[in-house]
């Protein structure tokens, strides 16, 4: 036992809520289920903050280095004497930070949902699912074991499935839920095989041991995994790349991103929680968790870098063309996670070189606040307008001042305007990229300009532009419970940049000195402001400038508008190739060839039986003839042939 053992309560409380609400909620707690869920989560969040305080300020450091503490660990499933899944809790800067982010954002979403989901028939179920998700996500970030992470990984996947498909009567929601699950499942296949590879060579599933074995140049395990190769690539690269594939799937990296925009079919608070702040950054968390090993393998890290950078740019371009506000936010999420990924990719092992690592997680931290704020704000807007399409919106600033202000703060934050949170983290990322890879840097800066543009396009389209035709009775902002989270998150988006993540969450546990270089900041900030101004001129009032630009870029615009046809490619591959070339033939072969063979054997027997009935002709003399022939042939056989 350890002083941190009580941390187990943090995930277990939501689990208890889930069980309680899932089993009995509908019958007994329907009305108070929201309060119940929110309350227990508030307890969890409080404990998380307490843990964070005690870890970062009191007991975490030994000799200036943050230590990894494992307060609880139980063997859960033994595969072989050395390889077992242990269920445990790991406390280190990374997990503590994630703990805070997850519980905090989740709490906000819980509170927001009290108002947003009010009157839903399956209110209790909704909170049960939210609790399940929170539990799984917390389990994920606290994992001590790569297989433990995989398990919770799957669990967050399924809670995401359940929540996206919450409106299960809507076929589009069901389709989106299925898509999200299947695509991430496909990515998890890579993760699983990656685990198999790594664990086989490292002979352990435990993170600590695995990392220490695979980073120790003297260890036989490292020798083994680097010398073994497949198709000319070492097993270490294979393993890490495949693990990254899992992360990429969950974090919606190109080309496994296609599920994320569709996932917006879920209730908006869910999007805020799962598809903006927490679950989608699991991939980043995973790479960060295995970062010491990734650093050892340049090839894998390069893949991470380029996938991240390309995704960032790719998503930003698409985001500029979408009209569904949640989809815009979804692409922006993808883009921001791309930032985090390549930041990890450009990072070095430790010290100054480890800036990228810190920057990535810093961005994860700030992004969680402003992105969930954006989603919640969008939720409030949708709640009012009953539409997701920005064409149905406009001029809403008068109807919902608080939402407007907080949304603006969030947009400024994501655009990277000082002193909002996003500025600081993005600045670190750009610095890291600049020092390591100029190409990435250029892409990143360009993307940050695009980000500012499409975010403000969104902002202006919602809150300015033409007047929306509102129908329905209430034109307010919704209940208090919806406003409070907006305000709190708004404050966070404003202030999160000042949280000294650099002191705490670094690749080697040693505090990192960071400084904002004004000169360096000029370019990105200027680009961001340029983007904002461009958006201002296009979308502040109703005009056709944007359409003209769009038509002048016709081909490219159409492609971007159609998300570069990635969905269609997938559909083609699944529907046409997999279904028609594998599924249908398999079913056909089974029915006609394999089963047909069995049936043929049966009918063949019947046919033979019919054919030979003539022997039994009913004529006594023929019977005697066969009798006689039987004697003759048997004796001939045994006298002349078999001897």
């Amino acid at each position: 036992m350890n002083i941190y053992s009580y941390i187990a309560l943090i995930p277990l409380l939501p689990l208890a809520t889930f069980l309680l609400l899932g089993l009995f909620g509908k019958k007994y707690f329907s009305s108070i289920s929201g309060i119940l869920g929110t309350f227990t989560l508030a307890v969890s969040a409080f404990i998380s903050l307490a843990v964070a305080y005690s870890y970062f300020f009191v007991n975490g450091k030994v000799d200036g280095v943050f230590q990894q503490i494992i307060p609880l660990k139980y063997t859960w499933l033994t595969f072989s004497p050395n390889v077992s899944i242990d269920m445990g809790i790991v406390i280190d800067p990374l997990s503590v930070m994630m703990l805070v982010v997850v519980t905090f954002v989740s709490l906000m979403v819980h509170i927001f949902s009290l108002g947003y989901m009010k009157g839903e028939e399956r209110f209790a179920t909704y909170y049960a699912f939210l609790s399940l998700f929170t539990f799984s996500m917390l389990g994920l970030v606290l994992s001590t074991n790569i297989f433990q992470i995989y398990m919770f990984w799957e669990l967050v996947g399924v809670s995401s499935f359940l929540l996206i498909g919450f409106y299960f009567e809507k076929p589009s929601a069901v389709a989106a839920a299925k898509k999200a699950f299947i695509v991430t499942r496909f990515a998890d296949l890579g993760f699983l095989i990656g685990i198999l590879i790594l664990s086989f060579h490292a002979e352990t599933l435990d993170f600590q041991t695995l990392i220490s074995r695979l980073t120790d140049t003297q260890s036989t395990q490292l020798m083994g995994i680097t010398t073994a190769s497949f198709m000319g690539v070492s097993m270490l690269t294979w393993g890490l790349t495949l693990v990254f594939m899992g992360g990429a799937g969950k974090s919606a990296m190109f080309p496994l991103h296609i599920w994320l925009p569709d996932a917006m079919e879920g209730p908006t608070p869910v999007s805020a929680l799962i598809h903006a702040a927490t679950m989608v950054v699991a991939g980043v968390y995973l790479v960060a968790r295995l970062f010491p090993v990734f650093v050892f393998d340049a090839a894998a890290l390069t893949i991470v870098t380029y996938v991240g950078a390309f995704s960032a740019l790719f998503a930003a371009i698409i985001a500029c063309t979408q009209t569904d506000i949640k989809r815009v936010l979804a692409y922006s999420t993808m883009s921001q996670i791309g930032y985090m990924m390549f930041a990890l990719g450009v990072s070095g092992k430790g010290g100054e070189e480890g800036l990228g690592y810190m920057a990535s997680l810093f961005h994860l931290f700030t992004h969680a606040f402003f992105k969930s704020l954006l989603f919640l704000g969008a939720g409030a807007v949708i709640h009012l307008v009953h539409s997701n399409d920005m064409k149905d919106m406009g001029g809403l600033r008068k109807h919902m001042p608080i939402t407007h202000i907080t949304f603006l703060i969030a947009c400024l934050a994501i655009a990277g305007i000082p002193p909002f949170a996003g500025f600081f983290s993005k600045e670190e990322i750009l610095t890291a990229a600049f020092h390591s890879n100029k190409l990435i840097y250029v892409l990143a800066v360009f993307t940050s300009g695009l980000t500012a543009f499409y975010m403000f396009r969104l902002y202006f389209s919602i809150f300015w532009n033409k007047e929306a035709h509102l129908h329905g009775e209430h034109h307010g902002e919704g209940t208090l419970s919806m406003k409070i989270p907006l305000i709190i998150l708004g404050a966070c988006a404003l202030l999160a940049g000042f949280v000294p993540i650099a002191d705490w969450v670094t690749s080697d546990g040693i505090a990192l000195e960071t400084h904002i270089d004004i000169v360096f900041s000029i370019l990105p900030v200027a680009l961001a402001i340029g983007g904002i101004l461009l958006a201002l001129s296009f979308y502040k009032t109703e005009n056709s400038k944007s359409d003209k630009i769009a038509s002048s870029l016709n081909g490219f615009y159409q492609a971007a508008y159609h998300k570069f046809y990635i969905d269609e490619i997938y559909l083609f591959v699944t529907r046409k190739i997999i279904f028609n070339l594998i599924g249908r033939p398999a079913a056909w072969i089974d029915k006609n060839i394999v089963d047909g063979l069995m049936n043929k054997m049966a009918s063949g027997t019947a046919v033979i039986s019919e054919k030979i009935k003539g022997f039994q002709s009913g004529k006594t003399q023929e019977y005697a003839l066969y009798f006689f022939l039987g004697i003759i042939s048997l004796s001939a056989l045994f006298i002349y042939i078999i001897k």
């Binding site: 049966a602 022997f615 006594t620 005697a624 039987g630 056989l637």
Partner: protein
């Protein structure tokens, strides 16, 4: 000497007494059919019991007649079968004019079989064989007015005359080349010269004709179909069983020197017998004809067991015949009831049989399962031991063929079960009132089917008695 005579031939003498008694009653008294049937069943029961009293071992008439515990048991097995058949034919014979003749003929054939089983000499064997087959032809024609019945009888008598002609020619050659008709002598002289092989094949054909092994089986189905049900069941279990007992002992003792040759012959015969029996059984609609072919397939399995040529082989064959009597008579019992009361003999008539006659359906089903070799019925054990005995020679090709053919046999047995339980029928066989004595017979069969397998002492006993091989 005289003591020996009475003791050793005890079973034959009891049988003879019954036959004479029946003759006297036939001539002197005019009792009603019911009384007669009850009397006969009582006598047959005594006959069964007498078989178990004071078993002795010994030879008579210069080794022409021999008996021992196994032979005595074999005779008792046949006695039990005859008793059951007699009980089952109650409904049929109740109104029949020639009741006592039927039993006189039947018991004569049984007497012939006893002689055959006890024979220690080809002459004795031949006499027993003919005694057991000529009256059978008359029995097959017992429904005098039926066309099919007389056709069946004609086919039977003419085919068996032909086959005994062949058999005798073979015997004459054996006699010519060995100089003896005594089994013990023949063993000393037999070898694998062509003449001996030829003679043996003719002898084998005679046996194969009786047990209906392919290709000497062609009379079987026609006769089974045409003959009255009681005769068919008698033919299929008793007559076949008796010949099998002799066949085993003749092969294992007399033709031991050419074991390798007859082993291969049996291999071939077994394979084609199982195959042809199965293939023909698949497409039959007449129940008796179906059972004819299924019994041909069963004989194939028995031949597989015989190839074991050891104590185990003999034991498994005797054991199987015992089980086969109960199983087959269980099926025939139901068929004979249905046939006697409604005249229906087709499998398609049995559709939805379960709806109206659940008890008979279960008996029939269990009997069929036993024939198919489904545990926990005795048939499973019987087949298992037969095949294991066949495998003991290391011929796994034979075993594989036999085992896979069991699948085909499952098909046709299950087809009937399907008809009984699953197929819809507008006019199912109406609810039958079963005479007490038939019911008793069915229960005996059922008990036999259940007990004989699970209760290992039966097999143990037979195995120990077979130690002579």
């Amino acid at each position: 000497m005289l003591n020996d005579f009475f003791l050793l031939m005890k079973q034959e003498l009891v049988l003879l007494l019954i036959i004479v008694l029946l003759l006297i009653i036939k001539v002197g008294k005019d009792w009603s059919n019911e009384t007669m049937l009850n009397l006969i069943n009582g006598l047959l029961l005594l006959n069964v019991i007498s078989g178990f009293v004071m078993p002795v071992e010994g030879n008579l008439f210069g080794d022409m007649f021999k008996t021992n515990a196994l032979i005595s048991l074999e005779k008792s097995i046949l006695n039990i079968g005859v008793l059951i058949i007699s009980m089952q034919s109650y409904s049929w014979l109740k109104t029949h004019k020639h009741l006592s003749e039927f039993f006189i003929l039947m018991l004569s054939t049984l007497l012939g079989m006893f002689y055959m089983i006890s024979s220690g000499n080809l002459l004795m064997f031949y006499i027993g064989l003919e005694l057991s087959s000529i009256p059978l032809a008359a029995m097959a024609n017992f429904d005098l007015e039926k066309r099919k019945s007389s056709e069946a009888a004609f086919k039977f008598i003419i085919s068996s005359a032909f086959s005994s002609g062949m058999l005798l020619f073979g015997i004459s050659l054996i006699y010519g080349s060995t100089g003896s008709i005594s089994f013990a002598e023949i063993t000393n002289h037999i070898s694998n010269e062509p003449l001996h092989i030829f003679a043996f094949v003719m002898l084998l054909a005679g046996f194969a004709f009786k047990i209906s092994a392919v290709p000497f089986h062609l009379w079987t189905a026609d006769v089974y179909e045409g003959a009255p049900v009681a005769v068919t069941s008698y033919l299929s279990v008793i007559s076949k069983g008796a010949v099998l007992f002799v066949f085993v002992s003749v092969l294992y003792t007399v033709f031991k020197p050419i074991a390798e040759i007859w082993y291969n012959m049996l291999f071939i015969l077994a394979v084609i017998t199982i195959l042809i029996g199965n293939l023909f059984a698949i497409r039959q609609n007449n129940f008796k004809r179906f059972l004819a072919f299924s019994s041909i397939a069963q004989v194939g399995f028995i031949l597989v067991g015989i190839t074991g040529s050891s104590q185990m082989g003999s034991a498994s064959v005797v054991y199987f015949v015992l089980i086969y009597i109960f199983s087959n008579l269980g099926a025939f019992g139901v068929i004979s009831l249905v046939s006697a009361l409604t005249g229906k003999e087709n499998i398609s008539d049995y559709k939805s049989f379960y709806k109206t006659n659940p008890l008979l359906s279960w008996v029939l089903t269990i009997a069929l399962f036993s024939l198919a070799g489904v545990p926990p019925t005795a048939g499973f054990f019987g087949k298992f031991f037969l095949l294991i005995s066949g495998a003991s020679q290391g011929n796994y090709i034979l075993i594989s063929i036999a085992a896979l053919n069991m699948v085909i046999s499952f098909y046709y047995y299950l087809r009937i079960v399907k008809a009984i339980f699953m197929d819809p029928n507008e006019q199912p066989i109406e609810k039958l009132s079963i005479p007490l004595i038939s019911k008793l017979a069915l229960f005996i069969c059922l008990a036999g089917i259940v007990v004989l397998g699970l209760w290992s002492s039966v097999y143990e006993c037979i195995y120990n008695l077979s130690s002579g091989f």
